[in-house]
């Protein structure tokens, strides 16, 4: 209070600054002590926060894996050409050469009707029923590997190949990938919505916990106000309480997701063997971990701030 004559006894400014930090430290430790003193409430609150945050965390990890997997496919955009059934092998092989000579084409691979049938017989498990057919229903196939190019060029190539009279069907193998991308995009948006909703839930959970905390310490707040505590001083331990809840909740959610990851990684390895693929599950990077913990801590701070702003002002000595 500047210019007031009422103050005659106060600590020196330098003392007050160091005391300011010392009170921050005290509040930090005090709020942790409060949490430690009521373990049941704390564990429940922290568990709810952890479970709530583990859902968006898990979804995020899932998408990250899908992204990494589809990234592997992206480079391969083969075009399969299925030729008319009445074209003989000689002409088909000639066509294969012509196409291989095209500027936009990196390489081609020719699969004759007989080869296709043989592969199908071996791999499909329908060998017996194939044998009953009177003629070979499979066409000659040319697998075209375009030069590295953007989707537009590849689509142009697809168009000109489709226009060839010998070609019955020209199929871009990345079409299913693009559908997958679209689905992944939808999933990403959904995860964003879920994340926002669950962040709001965490905000409410922490806000409510802090509100109860404020009610439980009603008398203490009154007394400290009467002996000259500023709002900031009273607010501090509650804000730190929220920070602790957020921090611990974040760690719990990280643990939940990591455990889920462990549970999935076993069967996934078996799946890898079956598909002869080299998929590996990606887990949280250190950066992801930092983001998760930081955002849950900030949510804790924000939640307690809302509760404190709403309820602390209403408590006045009377």
């Amino acid at each position: 209070m500047a210019g007031s004559n009422i103050r005659r006894f106060k600590p020196a400014a330098s003392n007050r600054i160091s005391a300011y930090f010392s009170h921050h430290l005290q509040s930090l430790v005090f709020s942790l002590g409060k949490i430690y003193q009521s373990p049941a409430t704390t564990i429940m609150t922290v568990a709810v926060i952890g479970i709530t945050l583990s859902l968006p965390g898990g979804f995020y990890l899932f998408l990250k894996n899908i992204d990494a997997m589809s990234g592997d496919f992206r480079s391969s955009s083969q075009i399969s050409l299925y030729l008319d059934l009445d074209i003989d092998e000689k002409r088909a092989r000639a066509l294969n050469k012509d196409i291989a000579a095209m500027a936009q084409v990196e390489s081609t691979r020719f699969i004759s009707r007989e080869q296709s049938l043989e592969e199908f017989r071996q791999n499909s498990g329908f060998g017996k029923s194939i044998d009953t057919l009177s003629s070979n229903p499979l066409p000659h196939t040319i697998i075209v590997e375009p030069v590295e190019a953007d989707t537009f060029t590849v689509r142009n190539l697809l168009g000109s190949l489709q226009a060839m009279p010998e070609v019955e069907i020209a199929k871009l193998d990345t079409e299913w990938l693009e559908r997958l991308y679209t689905i992944v995009e939808i999933a990403k948006r959904s995860v964003m919505i879920v994340t926002i909703l669950f962040a709001c839930a965490v905000l409410l959970i922490i806000g409510n916990t802090i509100r109860l905390d404020i009610q439980n310490r009603y008398q203490e707040i009154i007394v400290t106000k009467l002996i000259g505590a500023t709002d900031a001083f009273i607010r501090r331990p509650f804000l730190y309480g929220g920070v602790w809840y957020g921090l611990l909740g974040g760690i719990i959610s990280w643990l939940i997701v990591e455990l889920g990851y462990l549970a999935i990684s076993g069967p996934l390895q078996r799946l890898n063997l079956l598909y002869q693929s080299e998929m590996t599950l990606i887990t949280f990077s250190f950066q992801d971990f930092v983001v998760l913990i930081t955002s849950s801590t900030l949510l804790g701070l924000a939640g307690s701030w809302i509760a404190v702003a709403r309820h602390l002002r209403q408590i006045e000595p009377s």
Binding site: I6, P11, N15, Q219, L226, I227, G228, A229, S318
Partner: protein
């Protein structure tokens, strides 16, 4: 220190707790505020402690107008007042030392300074040996002395006490009042609300007597208010 000019306090619902109260308690004075319960003693103390604001009239604390104090200045003004409650208002979740140290921590004293002054205040009320005890383990008189230590630890200019001996036996009450007198002797302004008339007579300090919200006796200004006893 405290100046009231025709202060009236009317609560919502129309109940008038104080009616045209004027008084002037000088720096270093000590006075007793008496009157039966409901006479307005608590309301008068609440106005000084910035818990209530006057409906009409002007209340000054060390020339600061209490009617117009902004919300954020209230804590800083309260730091110059030590308040003692009838029911002590101690915090039962922490030991005696922490209770007494609270005003110093609020004002931002360094831990070493806090410890020094807290022990000095506890020593003053004769409870230094109890600093680590929890308040719940103390007797009523001891709890009240802890309350006093907390009220004086930051060396306030003004000490307000609301029925400080209300729950104590006569011997303890006398002890407590004696502590207030000692603080007054070192220059602290003291205003004690009490209905313990016997004890007040013994101490021979000026009296302010309220009756139904009106100041009917004001020893601080001689007999000049006697005329206003028109009820």
């Amino acid at each position: 220190m405290i100046e009231f000019h025709n202060v009236t306090k009317r609560y919502e619902g129309g109940y008038e707790a104080l009616t045209n109260v004027s008084l002037n308690l000088g720096d270093g004075d000590m006075a007793f505020l008496t009157g039966h319960s409901g006479a307005g003693k608590s309301t008068l103390l609440k106005i000084i402690a910035l818990i209530e604001k006057p409906t009409r009239g002007q209340a000054l604390l060390n020339r600061i107008n209490l009617n117009t104090v902004s919300r954020h200045r209230i804590p800083y003004i309260r730091r110059n007042i030590g308040i003692i409650f009838q029911d002590h208002q101690l915090l039962f979740d922490r030991p005696v030392f922490d209770n007494v140290a609270l005003p110093l921590q609020i004002q931002g004293f360094r831990p070493q300074e806090v410890a020094k002054r807290t022990r000095a205040a506890l020593d003053k009320v004769g409870l230094l040996h109890k600093e680590k005890s929890m308040p719940i383990t103390l007797s009523g008189g001891e709890q009240q002395r802890v309350g006093i230590a907390r009220a004086v630890v930051h060396k306030p200019m003004l000490l307000l006490a609301d029925e400080p001996t209300g729950n104590l036996d006569p011997v303890l009450s006398r002890e407590i009042m004696q502590i207030f007198v000692e603080f007054n002797q070192v220059g602290v302004t003291v205003l004690v609300a009490s209905h313990d008339l016997g004890l007040i007579e013994e101490l021979d300090k000026p009296r302010l007597t309220l009756n139904r919200g009106q100041l009917v006796l004001n020893d601080l200004e001689g007999e000049q208010q006697e005329d206003e006893r028109g009820w």
